[in-house]
Subunit: 399 residues, 2 copies
Amino acid sequence: MDKIIEKILTFSDPYIALDERVVIKKNEIIVDGNHFPYTKPAIIAVGKASYKMAKFFIDKLKDVKGLVILPKGSYISLPKVEVIESTHPDISELSFKAGTEVIKFLKNEDYDLLIFLLSGGASALMEYSNVPYEILRDINEKLVKSGLSVNEINIVRKHLSLIKGGKLTEFSKAPILTLIVSDVPGGDLSAVGSGPTLPDSSTVDDAKLILNKVGLGEYSKYLIETKKEVHNSFNFLILDINIVLRKLRDIVQNPIILSSEIRGDAYSFGQNLAGIVNTSFSNLGLKPPYTLLAGGEPDVKIEGKAGKGGRNGEVCLGFLKWVKRNSNHRFKLYAIATDGIDGNSEYAGCIVDENTIVDNIEYYIYSHSSYEALEKVGRVIKTGYTFTNVNNVYVLEVT
Amino acid sequence: MDKIIEKILTFSDPYIALDERVVIKKNEIIVDGNHFPYTKPAIIAVGKASYKMAKFFIDKLKDVKGLVILPKGSYISLPKVEVIESTHPDISELSFKAGTEVIKFLKNEDYDLLIFLLSGGASALMEYSNVPYEILRDINEKLVKSGLSVNEINIVRKHLSLIKGGKLTEFSKAPILTLIVSDVPGGDLSAVGSGPTLPDSSTVDDAKLILNKVGLGEYSKYLIETKKEVHNSFNFLILDINIVLRKLRDIVQNPIILSSEIRGDAYSFGQNLAGIVNTSFSNLGLKPPYTLLAGGEPDVKIEGKAGKGGRNGEVCLGFLKWVKRNSNHRFKLYAIATDGIDGNSEYAGCIVDENTIVDNIEYYIYSHSSYEALEKVGRVIKTGYTFTNVNNVYVLEVT
């Protein structure tokens, strides 16, 4: 496997990240110098990284019990804990079932420290609410179609749930140590999985405004307030894209971190990466050799049919179509989904350089079938599902 | 007027650019050390910058005659030359009339040096072709709607014309000194106004491939070859976005030129400028204080109705919606169209900073009415038509 890809996967591995930050002793756990005593520890892990996060504690703690909630199709079993499969990104009856199991566990089990392992996807994987499932599902569908930002959708979701926006803490008998693998660009921890154990600054009024703005005011009656303060709940960011980029910075040549919050149209981002390279080679822009680093979650707007593709495939095609070829211009672009799955393909992303030529590239661009092109020229990267999610990483070497 | 805006307009002024590069003596013109003798000079100016380019020579040359082709509605008169109004970006009968006037002038007038002043927009403003006007208009409409890149559309246009792709040189009795103000990101001079006096590397076969690709093969019968070599024709780039950015670099604090080829979705570009600022303030990215410089032509895809807006308005709204506010974060974004007109507004662009707050920003984003919002908060810039076009300039001060 390519060295840079290997490093990206290592730096994005939650097991390794926990190993670097969490010290487990016989009767206490230490995180960043904070001591958490235990005799009967319990873990609840929910999100795309829950398997590796749970495995860390299962490996290190002699006696531990708990629940691990994973996306459907993970086909994972783990000793000492119960594994439940649920759905994401959509809320389903499995989400309600998972939420009910968690509440039952917190109420009935005997534990003196709850280790809550939170990662992206938790918001849909686990739900517990007074709002009937069918109604909550309709609200979610309408929210996603309304064009609201992710942040606004999250504010409404938090105020429709009994376990989001800090409210999960009300069900725990013991102190809660929350360790977070974040997929949210910009580091807002309370947005990861709708922050079950974190205080929430948004209010019912904010949620009402948002619902009214998109003509969904009728659902305001279901809104309940989130917790502005949480007690006995200690939250630590273990891993996010910033941490990954910081580590990458130390192993590449002349690093320039541009942004850890790449958003907007994926194809446009690829075009603009090409513009940066072209400007460098018209000795005006950044001076080669350099390695531009970025991370985030650009998106692809699909109207009508789409072939096999994904955001990182479109970044690479946008780049290849607009980058200027010149015998002494060397460049290499890595575009990788840290969770191992880009779009509707089996690939994590692609690596392209000055020798990558895609014939009839417009066809693959307009039909959103980027990986059909990249497969043909052997530039795809297959990692399989990686049980983590800290967004997508872009590395652009210009020499 | 704001100091940075003033500088951008000065650096984009073709009259000033010519004054810096062109020496006019009694019987010769010197450009970059190349001598062009004359006794009876003639000028033909075509494009959005033709007024100021022509004015420079009219002011400096005692006896000069010529034609100046301007966009309709310029309402300009100039001594010593004939002014013709035509249309752009669409080809019309006025374009054919202007082309015919140019050919008549070149055939009938007495001159020993032709000074050809070329700028963006010339491709539509002036046309001379064996293809009947109605057919050429249909082909153009279909090309623009086909989703082909600007570059591919240009290749077909060049091979349907008798004066594009170097063929204008065949009509001149005298050496041609071509001075170019380029609106084409990436510096391909032969793409400016479809290169009437420059050799063209693309071929009839290329044009055929492109037409076939989008189901317009029936028009291949009209294709004629362009000139691979031109004689007695000397081309100089006088002004483009790279030159403007280079000059800006010398007058701002800690300049970083990112790209002179900004393309793709304008709103996404604004989002990603915000991501760069946010990453800087999470002490990971570029170290403040710095001034990021960029130029190019991002675009706006409008589906359905649109309010008063433009690409630079959408860049600013994308930036404002995603940039993080924090008491000690200072930032200022300038987004300016050097031709003075952004989108369907009367504005050139906008300046926004940490104090710019737009209520209900989503409404203005989705209705593509960016300037209705920016007018309300007094952040618009009005320069009027500037008689130049070297794309859009973006200056992002982060302190």
